[in-house]
Symmetry: C2
Subunit: 384 residues, 2 copies
């Protein structure tokens, strides 16, 4: 028996100066209750994705924050896997619901990042890199810049190829009322934006955002039956890899993505050809290209050219549309929330609730969430 997602709510993503971490959790909680109209006493356990609560908000034991805000005393599991914290919370929740047939759980991601200065948040994000590599000054954009340099050199692409990803995702973000950025950018805008770490520029990079997102996951068949919008979780699989990029044999692929993808396709009994809509982890433009290749949609090394074709653009009429939410790039990247938002966006698409950014054909969707520079990857496949 597959578990079902029966509701989704997301706060606005962005620079939410007026909301604290607890405020964001509370809005997502109230939002998901209003959306699903379920009584809070039906929640058997809560899974929380958050990366930086301890580091920048001086708040650990967030489980007890959640207990206080919800008024529940049920198990609350806080998961941390850097930018994959949300996907990990979902993946673990899916295991839990399998262990407890008939149960209903809340999966919530929340992150408050904009209370910190740029230097502080850059240092905080760098904790997801090897401590040895941090020590020699490698920041997080630096890690992905190394991947981009190798990719461009090895397969003969230019920064313009990378820029296509940002142009597409910004165009999608315009259609998402919850997105951090809702404006079009052009190839020239991207190319003219300042370098963060060569060859990656500001407009190749996802922003620092605040936001929370929540899902209800259930195997309570009576509850599922009475829910208006339901999708099945066909698979949610994860794989890990070394923390040090120096220990990897290749930098033009994230092996954790390859492994998690293979496990997910096998568990879901689907192939790439079945997937209609997909959210992938585009923390930097290069990451979306690697993801499409590593998940088996594009052959290794062809992604630069494929990106330029924009066949995954909503307006392309193509049969695989990627990052309709705007991706991390335009929808924003409140790290612990991202993995939940990705699954939520696929849920909205598969249930026909995606409004202006609704894709046409839609029976299967995939969400792909990455921790660090590929130390963890989670692939979740949903179907209706």
């Amino acid at each position: 028996m597959k578990n079902s997602i029966i509701g989704y709510y997301s706060t606005k993503f962005g620079e939410l100066w007026e909301q604290s971490l607890d405020d964001l959790i509370l809005e997502a909680w109230n939002g998901i209750l209003a959306e699903t109209k379920i009584e809070k006493e039906r929640i058997d356990a809560i899974f929380l994705g958050n990366m930086l609560g301890g580091v920048v908000e001086h708040a650990l034991l967030l489980s007890a924050h959640v207990a206080e805000l919800t008024g529940l005393q049920v198990p609350v599991y806080r998961m941390e896997a850097a930018c994959a914290s949300g996907g990990l919370a979902f993946q673990n929740a899916n295991e839990y619901v399998h262990a407890h047939p008939g149960s209903t759980v809340l999966v919530i991601g929340a992150e408050k990042m904009t209370d910190s200065g740029a230097a502080e948040i850059t240092r905080a994000l760098a904790t997801a890199a090897s401590t040895d590599e941090q020590a020699v000054g490698l920041t997080f954009p630096g890690v992905y810049a190394l991947m981009a340099q190798i990719y461009l050199a090895q397969y003969g692409y230019t920064e313009e190829h990378l820029a296509s990803i940002s142009v597409k995702n910004h165009a999608h973000g315009v259609l998402n009322e919850k997105a951090h950025f809702r404006r079009y950018v052009t190839i020239d805008n991207v190319l003219e934006s300042p370098y963060v770490a060569y060859p990656l520029k500001v407009l190749d990079s996802s922003p620092i955002s605040d936001g929370a997102a929540a899902l209800i996951l259930s195997s309570d068949q009576a509850l599922v039956k009475q829910s208006r919008h339901v999708v099945s979780v066909l698979a949610s699989e994860l794989a890990t890899d070394t923390i040090s990029i120096a220990r990897r044999t290749r930098l033009d692929t994230l092996e954790a993505t390859v492994l998690a993808g293979r496990k997910a396709y096998a568990a879901a009994h689907v192939t790439q050809a079945d997937i209609d809509v997909m959210e992938v982890h585009d923390c930097f433009s290069i990451a979306e290209i690697l993801a499409l290749e590593d998940l088996g949609f594009w052959e290794k090394g062809t992604g630069g050219a494929k990106a330029q074709e924009m066949s995954t653009h909503l307006k392309s009429g193509g049969n695989l549309i990627v990052n309709t939410s705007g991706g991390l790039k335009a929808a924003g990247h409140p790290v612990g929330s991202t993995g939940i938002k990705q699954i939520g966006e696929v849920y909205l698409q598969l249930t026909g609730q995606a409004g202006l950014r609704q894709v046409g054909k839609r029976t299967h969707g995939l969400a792909h969430n990455v921790g660090g520079s590929g130390g963890m990857a989670i692939v979740t496949i949903l179907g209706v």
Copy 2:
């Protein structure tokens, strides 16, 4: 079908200047493989308890550290619930093994605390308290000092009653070769030690420690059958409570402990009378008294007198022996490891491997791990 613990390994707890966080994880990993003689490829998933990696060691995404150190690419779940991180990792692992019959998982706790100065580590630990309460200067010893003040005033006890807990646990710690402190203290030593937060003194308080501990949990019946030392996990249950102590109706009880205990007794089909040996969360002397009351062994308000009787001392010949490891007080409290060490100590006792501190009658044991000031409690019951 109950899951089984088939092996346990702990590093020394203490001020381990020569070992990094990764070194501790690696020692625990090599130790548990040597102890159980299982091939590492049999590990299907890893559950890691760690509180402060991000805050004091600048290391998040510890899942990828574990992947690199073990050479495995399996799911690695990092759980954080302050001082209950280890117990939470175990509790979640137990759910996972139920979801995957025939699976075998590693549960590991690791914490590196002594690289930081006293002020930094005090601030870091305070992140497990409400941010509002932190903001007005309430430190972690301060929270437990409030509980102790109320308890002593309400039930007519003195600091001497509290001191009995430390005297007993230090006596046990002398017998534990892995303990942080291996020396006897007297009631006078405790009473003469400096105040940390009135009425709690240095010798009422658990120390800042480094250390790691690991368990193998399995439902692979062939593997369990060939293992030399096996105990069954009869129950592992958790409950949560508010982060703010101001929101609690009483401060002489931890409601999360009461709830988790009730759930665990019911799930395990045992009563307090069945328990022979127990590790409880004595982060401060008052906490052990509250734990024994909240878990239903001592009537509320009688714990001060009971503590003074020392009926839970190994040398008492009593039928319930508490904190044979030395507890957090003497064995040390590397926070993410504590919950694993508690379960590990009960495992050693039930399998007759506790050496000099071995209790006599032993069929059932209990481990009790608390996060923060009771925002989370986990109660695990083991049996042979």
